[in-house]
Amino acid sequence: MAVSSATRSFIRWEKRLQPSRIMSVIVPVVSVILALIIGAFFLSATGFEPLKVYEKMFNGAFGSRYGISETIVKAVPLMLAGLGISVAFRMLLWNIGAEGQLYMGAFGASWVALTFPQLPAYIMLPAMFFAGCLMGGLWALIPAFFRAKWEVNEVITTLMLNYVAIFWVDYLVYGPWKDPEGFNFPLTASFSEAATLPTIFGTRVHLGLIFALVSALVLAVILWHTRWGYEIRVIGESARAAHYAGINIKRNIMLVMFLSGALAGLAGMSEVAGIAHRLQHGISPGYGYTAIIVAWLAKLHPFMIILVSFFFGALIVGGYSVQISGVPAATVSMLQGAILFFLLGGELLTYYRIRFGPKVGDVNGK
């Protein structure tokens, strides 16, 4: 059977012994280009000039000091959430809940800032940092617990909890936490000065960037220089092998999800403390979802996530800058989805090579 099918097929996929290094660079770049072409098709079909739109997007993101600083500002939550997602994905734990974990982190940090407004900065900021991580981590522990205990599909539970977290924050900012002097807008009162992350160079770029860079470093150390990181990688490669090696998978599910959620929670903390200076409706425009693409595009590598986040930050800022001229805001998420599509399709090229002609040296058909 296999012999006949092999001799019939003229084009074959042959597994590479090692993933191709060249392809792992070419594929992401080509994916982005192809996605832009798809976007151009839809843009021109709806009466826009794609090249002008892209040029405007590029200038919006990189053409000015403000644009560049905004790109970094948008990249920070993507980095933190992306790092969180990557560590879970490494273990094949599909944490789609970064968005909700981000909201809960923002909630935790805001609770500290609003409940103890008199705290000095050197206590306030660490407390907000801790509360943000803790709330994000605990929120991720809910699906982790059900996954570890009863194998409940974490894709669905993490995603459902996103909606719950967003409604919870909405409840607070439309209800008990609403700023009485806020003209009925869904936002809390401004945090005290002490609850504000310091910024650099007079821009909106805040200490959250340092959080992200340090987190990436710490994550890299954990992954490649600790026993825990080794366990995470083994479980990701083969849960069965990990089980036989005596690795406690359930414990790792809980730990990794907590870490994953804590990083997303930190993203939420840095958004409220660094950018908004209050909790408000729609504190994240979907960073938790974009971060999934960031993590995958970066092949789950911590340092690559930092780099890729800048690109996606630029995409978001570029998207904002063309909205004024009537280009739908959804263009950006359409482009993001298309990038991921091409990336997934191209991945086969990283792990396989195309061979032409009948199969050789496989007469046994096994």
Partner: protein
Amino acid sequence: MENSIWIATLAAAVTAGTPILYAALGEILAERAGVLNLGVEGMMLVGAVTGFIVAFLTKNPWFGFFMALLASGAVASVFAFLTISLRANQVVTGLALTIFGTGLSGFLGKAYIGIPLPVTFKTFVIPGLSQIPILGTIFFKHDPLIYLTYILTPFLWYYFYHTRPGLNLRAIGENPAAADAMGVNVFALRYFYVILGGMLAGAGGAYLSLVYAPTWLENMTAGRGWIAVALVIFAVWDPFKALLGSYLFGGVDTLAYSLQAATAVTIPSFFLKMLPYILTIIVLIISTRRTVIQRIGAPGALGIPYNREER
């Protein structure tokens, strides 16, 4: 009179459950074939926006519905190509489909947000059946798209368990290598069912924008695609149980809405809005527990790309 309110609520539950039912039936088809398509939410949105735009422009809801099927089938075929031919990771590809579908629908529908649909499906009271006390009002005073699910659900059940193609469908989901050896074309059939499943998801989306709303709003599915995915597990891949589950969720949706309207109840509306999502989690936990204990459930090859050379 208390009675008639409950009947009206149950009839509304059927209406609210129908988009989820369409999507869940579609996902059952894909998963029975061994392909986990998490892009339901995206496909529903593509169906919703296409259905609305076409129906709005042509003033023909049936044509809108038909085009919605084609559009969502088209995006499902992209997913099929990536996961079946290129063997891409099904979880991540499904997410990509949802992100892309959300973006694409928002892009296409921007000019149509909030516009009411001038012509929609008319309620058709079925003579005879609608006269049945209580049940008649709950089930037989609806629009044609609901009646379509009354035919589709038993048909799919019969197809799965009592026909040869249905047997092949289950075979490629349980053990594709064995099915392949029996001469069943695993790749072609997986394509077929993933695309068909996508069309049904699009039908669910179109139901939202053509009948339930009937208007277009960005992200108007509000997680119903994901609820449908969870429901498939609850339904242990059985069309009839999917129907029951969909009405259960439709009921919770309706209940949350009418509780909100009844201002005497002082539960903040945000907590009521959380209900369907929390219920999904609870239902998922219970049904996962049950499938584990009873050793029934997921198709054996669910989520695993079929690779002829590695069997």
